[in-house]
Amino acid sequence: MSDTALEATGLGKRFGRRGGWALRDAAFRLPAGRVCALVGPNGAGKSTLLALAAGLLPPTEGRLTVLGGTPAGARARVGFVAQDKPLYPQLTVAETLRMGADLNPERWDAATAEQVVAGGDLDPRSRIRSLSGGQRTRVALALALGKRPELLLLDEPMADLDPLARHELMGTLMAEAAQYGTTIVMSSHVVAELEDSCDHLLLAGSGRIRLAGEIDDLLAAHLRVSGAAESTDLSAHTVVESRVTGRQLTALIRPAGPLPGDLRTSVPSLEELVLAHLRNPGAPALSAAPAVTQGSAA
């Protein structure tokens, strides 16, 4: 088993020959066992990245390694829940799970799948087409979790769920990650939704990966500073965002060395960090994960 769940180099995907790039120049490494938030506004390339990782789309350029192999080769060990939670409407809940068992004969964990469905008070005999959006999400998650994947890719998994179900299913996912060391990547355009559960961040914006790394490392690499506008010189540091209000300058920077003593500094929140990078697409990307691949499976 590889210690790297996902590794991208120069990864890009363009739809159609003349279409725009949905994702470009993505480079990051996600170590195995992490719970990773894939955050970004609508159209940032989150779904494209997840579909590439699930082996459902070929990249236009660059390379993506999944669990130490090709995305297609890793398919059997990867669980994927697409954004619109496609399921066969004519099957019942029980039949859908039985299909999961039949199509994943070597990996299927019926107990886990049933447990996820049972949590939603779903009648196994009801047809998928009669379910609400949240109930469908639950069945889709049961199908993905029943596969007992090493890597679980979830595209906006919580969007259709009520707060109670969200809390419960997030708990199920975290327990899964803790018990089996499952790597989970879940996308959302709401940072706060994932902040408490995730230890790793991929920030996508306009088809690029803007930030990648452990959340703690990313936060530690940035500082929010404020000081007098005329006397503060930040040119030695990487300035992600700076704003002058009256004589006051506030900025989010990546310090490259000691800071002038008269500045007030504080650690930014994850949301501040994310918003500052999204508001300033010109700011250089940062990958705080260890860049070296350590002995991945050949």
Binding site: S2, T4, E7, A51, A54, G55, L56, L57, P58, P59, T65, G68, G69, T70, P71, A72, G73, A74, R75, A76, V78, G79, F80, A82, D84, P86, L87, Y88, Q90, L91, A94, E95, L97, R98, M99, G100, A101, D102, L103, N104, P105, E106, R107, W108, A110, A113, E114, P124, R125, L143, A144, K147, T293, S296, A297, A298
Partner: protein, 337 residues
């Protein structure tokens, strides 16, 4: 109550069972359609043909010196039933193509359930292979039975019913033999290809219909040229030989030098005038290149082979489109990291 099975000793995914389960309504409808068609064709070849043949016997026995009565209703009933069964049977490939484009691949890709299957332990290649193979078996079995019964019904009427369709009537030609089966398989493949290419059910349905009609037309157009035809040369007085007895490939005049030229349009009132006009053009006789009834078998087989070759091409194209869509179809050898 749960109906979830525990992993048994099975190793390979049971995709077949699920393709059958997902398309159970269509399978039931197809079985019903084939049974209904078979029953009607048996009725056509049995009681209807016998009654119409009796009517023709009565008709032929008439000496017309007196009032003559014959069972005209039986004759017309046979004719209607024959046409209403032959045309739908000839059009069966359209139904297969439309279904394949809309339901087999187009809808799956539109709704994302194809991706759902690929995200399970099923490679896209196996997904498509199963999705093509199972309907191919059902289509082959059902259509073969129908064309066999059609041929049986047609043979029963041959020589007994004056208005029975000739073997070379385009609809009759195809519904009497395996070419309709092969065309239905080509339609299945072209529909699957359209669904994969367009990834939406409704446009795929429309394109499949047009493409299937195109394949049908192409096969019908090429059919006379897929087996060497025979040429009969006759004198000018004798007229064409074998006209309206088979599939005409070419006809015209033979000149003194043996050259074949098209028959000029003759608007004269008598045959004599026309013959004089032909002679002025150095014509010494007529030629007629055509397929007699003896060529029915070879023409059927070569046309079927052509349709099957097209089916193969469409299938390969469908797998190529799928590869472009999903990347590697099978798990590659462990890639380097």
């Amino acid at each position: 109550m749960t109906a979830v099975t525990t992993p048994a000793a099975v190793r390979r995914p049971h995709l077949t069972r699920w393709v059958l389960r997902l398309h159970r309504p269509e399978l039931v409808a197809w079985a019903g359609l084939v049974l209904l068609g078979a029953a009607l064709l048996l009725w056509l070849g049995g009681p209807l043909t016998d009654a119409a043949a009796d009517g023709w016997r009565q008709y032929n026995a008439c000496d017309w010196s007196d009032k003559c009565s014959y069972d005209q209703d039986a004759i017309l009933r046979y004719k209607d039933a024959y046409n209403y069964l032959t045309l739908p049977l000839a059009a069966l490939p359209l139904l297969v193509g439309a279904w394949a484009g809309a339901a087999l691949t187009g809808r799956e890709l539109e709704s994302g359930t194809a991706q759902l299957a690929w995200a399970q332990g099923v490679t896209p290649a196996r997904w498509l292979a199963t999705r093509l193979a199972l309907p191919a078996v059902a289509v082959t079995a059902g259509t073969s039975l129908l064309v066999f019964l059609h041929h049986r019904a047609w043979s029963a009427a041959r020589g007994r019913i004056g208005t029975a369709k000739s073997w070379w009537d385009p609809w009759t030609f195809h519904t009497n033999g395996p070419s309709t089966v092969a065309l239905a398989l080509a339609a299945l493949a072209v529909g699957a290809l359209a669904g994969l290419t367009l990834r939406r059910a409704l446009p795929a349905l429309a394109v499949s219909l047009v493409a299937t009609a195109g394949v049908w037309g192409l096969a019908q157009w090429l059919m006379p040229h897929l087996w060497p035809a025979v040429t009969r040369v006759t004198g000018l007085k004798h007229g064409y030989d074998g006209l309206y007895s088979g599939i005409t490939v070419d006809q015209g005049l033979v000149t003194r030098t043996g050259e074949h030229i098209p028959e000029p349009v003759c608007s004269a009132h008598t045959t004599e005038e026309c013959l004089r006009m032909f002679e002025k053009r150095n014509a010494v006789g007529f030629f007629h290149t055509y397929h007699p009834y003896a060529h029915y078998g070879p023409l059927q087989l070569t046309t079927s082979a052509l349709a099957l070759a097209l089916a193969g091409l469409f299938t390969v194209a469908a797998f190529l489109v799928l590869r472009r869509l999903t990347g590697a179809l099978r798990p590659g050898k462990g890639a380097t990291a």
